[in-house]
Amino acid sequence: MNEKIKKLLSKRLIVLDGAMGTQLQHRGMPQGVCPETWCIKNPHILTKVHQEYVASGADIVYTCTFGANAFKLTQYGAGNVEEINTQLARVARKAVGPNILVAGDIGPTGEFIDPFGSIPFEKAVDTFKQQIKGLLAGGVDLLVIETMMDIQEARAALIAARELTTKFVMVTMTIEPSGRTLNGTDPLTALITLQSLGANAVGCNCSLGPKEMCRFIDAMKPYATVPLIAKPNAGLPQLKDGRTVFQMNPREFAQGAKMLVRSGANLIGGCCGTTPEHIQALKASVVRSRSQRIKRTSLSAVSSARGHVVLEKRKNIAVIGESINPTRRKALQKEFSEGKTAFACQLAKEQEHDGALMLDVNVGAVGVNEEKVLPQVIGALSISSSLPLVLDTSNISAMEKALRFYPGRALINSISAEKSKMVPLLRLAAKYGAMFIALPVGFKGMPKDFSERKEAIQHLVRNAKKHHLSTSSMVVDGLVMAVSSLPRSAHDTLKAVHWCHTTLRCNTVVGLSNVSFGLPQRHVLNATFLSMLKKQGLSTVIANPAHLSSSEDRYAKNVLLGNDKDARQFIAHAQAAEKKIAIENTSQDIKDVIRQAILDGNREQIKGFIQQGESEGLSASSIVYEVMIPAINQVGEFFEAKRYFLPQLVASAETMKKAFEYLEPRLAHKETDGLEKTVVILATVQGDIHDIGKNIVALMLKNHGFQVVDLGKDVSAAKIMREIKRHKSPIVGLSALMTTTMVNMQEVVDLAKAQNLKCRFMIGGAVVTEDYAKSLGAAYSRDGVEAVRVVKHLAAGPTL
């Protein structure tokens, strides 16, 4: 049957059927019932829908089993999953006869799969297997996994299918208007993952109309090794007379379908809002269209759940970050042995920032169970990073677990010619569609020269072919060794990389830093060797990306490669450098520099500027009174005029605080007389734990010289009373964010009155209003800037 589909595809475009659910509802299926069990009770209606789609020109009909998995059926209390699928497949087969193809339809479970959800991956695989067994027993010709928004769920269904049958399997994802699935997978990433894992056709369905879907097909076509599917809705849903409708009529839909053909779709049908009339119009419009041929048979590319790297024809070497390896990191070893992953995620982020395009993941260390920990780390990294992973373990069982679980197309690090491991690892690479680093050792031990390296590589290529793995799946390791002990080895690596690039036409990789082991000036040797390897065609390097280039190089490289939108990062970096030089060399008045540092929230440099001011003869008091206080007042004005927003206000206030902490001991006693001496007690009232607003108020008040006693959050009225007594006639600032805790302000104020304590209250917080403050006899402050004004006003009031 696979041959029949392939033969059809080689001749013309294949037409798929249209929407099923709405057709059943229009023919009497009540809302809220289980469609699958209703169809079993009403097979004549389902038969009619199938037959109408065939009469409209559909070459393939989908069984009515979209929700016939254990998760969905259980929600309706429906029984035997396999039996339901078998029965519905038989209805379809009987309805359309032997000449029309029947696709067993597999929809999402409605659950999210580990690592993106709580359903264990193997449970998902087993759930799909149960459904697929039923569909196969019912006589379907092929399988279709559709409307997937989670790539991991699509993988689970595809693995289930591949482990049960060799039949043709199609997979379609639902891509949102943003260009990604709801789970963040873009069409090309999905294609790379699914076609390598064994899908016979890949594409998208639902969410958008045919015209909008074209850009997804356009994105996939140049990289597709399989036919592409498009099953769009009848346009975008629009509100008409208070109802949501799909606005495309059959003629318009058919015109949109023609565009999909031009984009390269090989199988086209309809999803939500389409009818047999839409499919009929579609068929009529594309009946003479030849579907575009598939442009390639293989693709060198890896993917994660949310990103991909195409390795072919790269102009620049792709960096594989090497840091997630516990060998030289005790902290990582400890983390892995405790089953934790936070540090690994942090290292991933740092390497991504430094320019890595892939991440090598090695968890091998004493006390670490690789089979358990490697999938855990993969899960955590798949959530926190979009970089594809390079799975680095010599433990075959751990590798299989990792490959099965990894929600993308991985790169295996590595497969050597060592007999006992080569065959099982090649088998795994083939099964899970992974790329692999071919390590030319083990054939005759460690190769002594270039010819032995070549021999080992050829041995690996031959064996890979036996497992249907072409050279496009391989990344050959150039085998870098320390030139301090093997002076000829660098030369052999260069020759090997050149030979792989020009003769085998496959990708290459080196572990760069080995070359300089045991020598001084390692970075010079490494950088020079990398530059030499690049000239020989090296495609990837395993290294710490932070060591590969200076930050200036990175910024320049990013702007030249178009990776820095509007060159913003480059300009910011250059401006910062220029500013630094300007400050170092300029004759600019240091008072202006200090003032600007406060306005800019420049916490790192303020102390240095003040020291420079002192060295130029400025007194501490002139810096405080003539520069800093006017500057922070201006920040307050900017904030109130919305020229500054909150982080700018806080950064400036922190800069001021740092400056003041440095200067205060240097002020003569009398010079501090101008500063406020009033004590201000601050607290978030009992029951409330929100304190960021209160902390900002504290910072602002301190900057204006008030003595702040911050009692923290969730503070009892009794504790506040004790502090009021201790500090005698202070001002008390109370904060609350919730209506339920705001009432505790009243308790504090009442208790102070009852105890005849002499203090003034200021209150604030998200739910607090000026009227509420008045009702308590308290002052109100909206934010940190106003709080300073209010407290100054209260402090200047008559003595209580």
């Binding site: 979209f66 928004m149 942090q346 919305k642 805790t741």
Partner: protein, 212 residues
């Protein structure tokens, strides 16, 4: 009753939304590129410490009266505003999400270290992600419901809004089993970790969703 759990909602923080929440005005606020870059780094730092978890629950509507909504299992939500909001719904969708405790611990640490700028930005990023998770859930359920010829209202309603008293937060918390994703509730109906939110929305026949 249909219960769903989401171990990691795949959303990224939107700097523009975080800036807006912190008072950024497109027309008035002036920010230097270096300052903006610094704040974007903080947002990214926050993101790396946040895994947004969520629970959702579909319940049938038994009755909608003038001032109360009665749901499957006997849950009653007393609110005229909510009754008006849900009128015509066949079911309701409860949603709850949390940005988790690690980011709250980090905010506390940064506050203690005197790095309040970071604490402020981290807090805003966590709030935005917890809230954005509910928007993500609504799109997700709209897809799911479409297959059942059902639609989900475009707005959501939370305890503490209008006349839906804040004590309903406890009912939301219990129904959503938020304790299972590390969220507790105080006597004052405050969700802990702080950056946790809940909401309810109406499910209707497709085409009749409320967009206002």
């Amino acid at each position: 009753m249909k219960f769903s759990t989401f171990a990691a909602i795949p959303i990224l923080p939107r700097a523009s939304a975080i800036f807006r929440a912190l008072g950024f005005s497109k027309e008035k606020t002036v920010i230097k590129s270096l300052q903006e870059k610094e704040l974007n780094v903080y947002i990214e730092e926050a993101r790396s410490h946040i895994t947004v978890k969520a629970h959702a629950l579909r319940l049938n509507v038994i009755d909608i009266m003038d001032t109360a909504v009665i749901l499957e299992g006997g849950t009653t939500l007393e609110s005229q505003n909510l009754a008006e909001f849900l009128r015509g719904s066949k079911e309701v969708l409860f949603m709850g999400s949390t940005a988790g405790q690690p980011i709250m611990d980090l905010i506390e640490k940064k506050t203690q270290e005197g790095d309040l700028t970071r604490a402020v930005v981290y807090g805003a990023a966590a709030s935005e992600l917890a809230d954005e998770a509910l928007s993500w859930l609504m799109v997700y359920f709209r897809h799911q419901l479409r297959r059942e010829d059902l639609g989900l209202d475009y707005r959501r309603f939370s305890a503490g809004y209008g006349d839906l008293a804040i004590d309903h937060q406890k009912k939301f918390w219990e129904l959503l089993k938020l304790e299972q994703i590390g969220v507790s509730i105080t006597e004052n109906f405050l969700l802990i970790p702080e950056k946790s939110v809940t909401a309810i929305s109406g499910i209707r026949a497709i085409g009749y969703e409320r967009k206002d």
